[in-house]
């Protein structure tokens, strides 16, 4: 297996050293080149899981292997795109995409490689613009180009389109699908949108909450592009909804309890 997540556990300690369990016994095997979505209600630990795979957060139990090697810290084999573009405002678009390339390449090489990926996200006309001059969708495309520029094996995406409007999101879905087909990256894509996950992924990992566990693992076999398969997509959506309904009810009743307790 390319990515192998075994018995992963994560808890956070609060002020009173009381452990709140966020991820419980997560087992997940992902093959090279797969597009896998992690779907679940907010607060179920999706971001935490992705952050552990990225090496930004430490697990409290279990292990993650990438290509047989245990993940201990961040590495250039795993590129990450966050919900906010997280571009550096003090450098322009081209320099942002060159950021991960500075050390191992000559300036000229880095420049060319960065341009290649900016072309892939169709932003070659904006090389010398600064992040604040771009729309949210454009910034997110730069962030994708930046993650891809270091040619990672794995692309980790944490609700990358969550803050964008519907039309921009649809456009970026298509672009991401094209990029994935072209680059054959392994993608771990976190989302709370059922339709987004069905549209994009080979597999959907549905997570439950409190604590975060894997509820089910659904293969999506529809041919791409999937816009022509609306009916099948709706069927899968209903199927996933049946799993998530209970979880969402759980969150809502928890919140209501919390409110009445105040």
């Amino acid at each position: 297996m390319f990515i192998s997540i075994n018995q992963l556990n994560k808890h956070f300690l609060d002020k009173n050293q009381h452990a709140s369990i966020v991820l419980k016994d997560i087992d997940l095997q992902i093959e090279k080149g797969e597009f896998v979505s992690i779907l679940g209600p907010s607060g179920c630990g999706k971001s935490t899981l992705l952050s552990i795979v990225a090496g930004l957060t430490e697990a409290t139990g279990g292990e993650i292997l990438v290509d047989g090697k245990e993940v201990k810290k961040p590495g250039k084999d795993r590129g990450m795109v966050f919900q906010e573009a997280a571009l550096f405002p003090w450098i322009n678009v081209l320099e942002n995409v060159m950021f991960p390339l500075k050390k191992e390449m000559s300036k000229k090489q880095a420049n060319e490689q960065a341009k290649t990926y900016l072309k892939m996200v169709q932003l070659t006309n904006y090389l010398d613009h600064y992040p604040h001059e771009l729309s949210g969708g454009m910034q997110q495309r730069v962030a994708i180009a930046r993650a891809l520029a270091m040619d990672p094996e794995i692309l980790l995406m944490d609700e990358p389109f969550g803050a964008l409007d519907e039309q921009t999101r649809t456009r970026l879905h298509r672009q991401l699908e094209d990029i994935w087909i072209e680059t054959k990256k392994t993608v771990l894509f976190v989302t709370h949108s059922i339709s987004e996950s069905i549209k994009l992924s080979d597999r959907i990992i549905v997570m439950g909450t409190q604590p975060g566990t894997v509820l089910t693992d659904i293969k999506i076999d529809l041919p791409r592009p999937r816009d022509h398969h609306k009916e099948e997509m709706l069927k899968i959506e209903d199927h996933i909804m049946s799993y998530l309904k209970k979880e969402i009810d759980k969150v809502v009743s928890e919140e209501l309890n919390h409110e009445t307790n105040l």
Binding site: R78, E84, F88
Partner: protein, 249 residues
């Protein structure tokens, strides 16, 4: 009406009252000489170069002191932002120092360096250093964790992370720190010069006062005020604004 016109009219009226009040005898000329006299003495001072030499001397001290203050302040700021021990010790001392006007150091400085330029520069350095250090510390402490995480996933860590991400991300606070350091240094400079020897704007101010040359006193006050406002608004606030815009603040 544009603010610039309002401002012009306001100052014209002020000057008018100032001139007329003296002429109709509301106050004696020695108490408040009229603007015409003030501008005449300014004109004389500039054409005979005495005020120009004063300006050059003052600016020399200011720039030497300010540059040293910015360098030391930035270094201390980085140190206390990065080391908890340094923050708990040096950091608390900084806050105490910052609440004291730096001119109170002048008697000590005169003991150490003598009644000369070095004593003034020392006070200027103290004026700028602490506020710079405090702002650099704040800037570094407030770097968005998202930038740091993003950089880490791109293989940056340690010194590389500091130089390429943490430091540039805190530039808005560095600019604010520099602006405040300049303001404190400018005040410290004039205060220091008032009490030491010339040439220098502060020295000329006290010299003119000793000789009852009130029109020159007011003239120098105007120079000090205009330079202070000019540097603050036309240089620092502009930089601050454009940095804030680009950094998305």
């Amino acid at each position: 009406m544009k603010p610039i016109y309002k401002r012009l009219i306001f100052f014209a009226i002020l000057l008018g009252i100032w001139e007329l009040g003296g002429q109709i005898g509301l106050w004696a000329e020695i108490i408040l000489p009229p603007p015409t006299k003030v501008f005449t003495s300014l004109y004389v001072g500039i054409t005979d170069m005495t005020l120009v030499y004063d300006l050059i001397a003052s600016f020399r001290r200011l720039i030497i002191g300010l540059v040293i203050a910015l360098v030391i302040g930035t270094s201390i700021g980085v140190l206390i932002a990065k080391s908890k021990t340094a923050d708990d010790t040096i950091g608390s001392m900084l806050l105490a120092f910052q609440s004291v006007p730096s001119i109170v150091w002048l008697p000590l400085a005169i003991m150490w360096f003598g009644l000369n330029e070095q004593a003034v520069i020392f006070v200027v350095i103290l004026g700028g250093t602490f506020v710079m250090a405090i702002n650099v510390r704040t800037g570094i402490k407030n770097v968005s964790p998202l930038y740091i995480k993003a950089a880490q996933t791109m293989g940056s860590s340690g010194i590389d992370l500091f130089i390429r991400v943490i430091f540039p991300a805190s530039i808005p606070h560095l600019v604010t720190g520099s602006r405040l350091a300049w303001a404190f240094a400018w005040r410290a400079l004039i205060a220091g010069e008032l009490l030491t020897t010339g040439p220098g704007l502060g020295y000329t101010l006290s010299y003119a006062s000793d000789f009852g040359n009130m029109s020159l006193v007011i003239g120098v006050m105007i120079i000090i005020g205009v330079i202070g406002a000019f540097v603050d608004q036309l240089i620092f606030q502009r930089i601050e604004k454009s940095v804030a815009r680009r950094w998305g603040l």
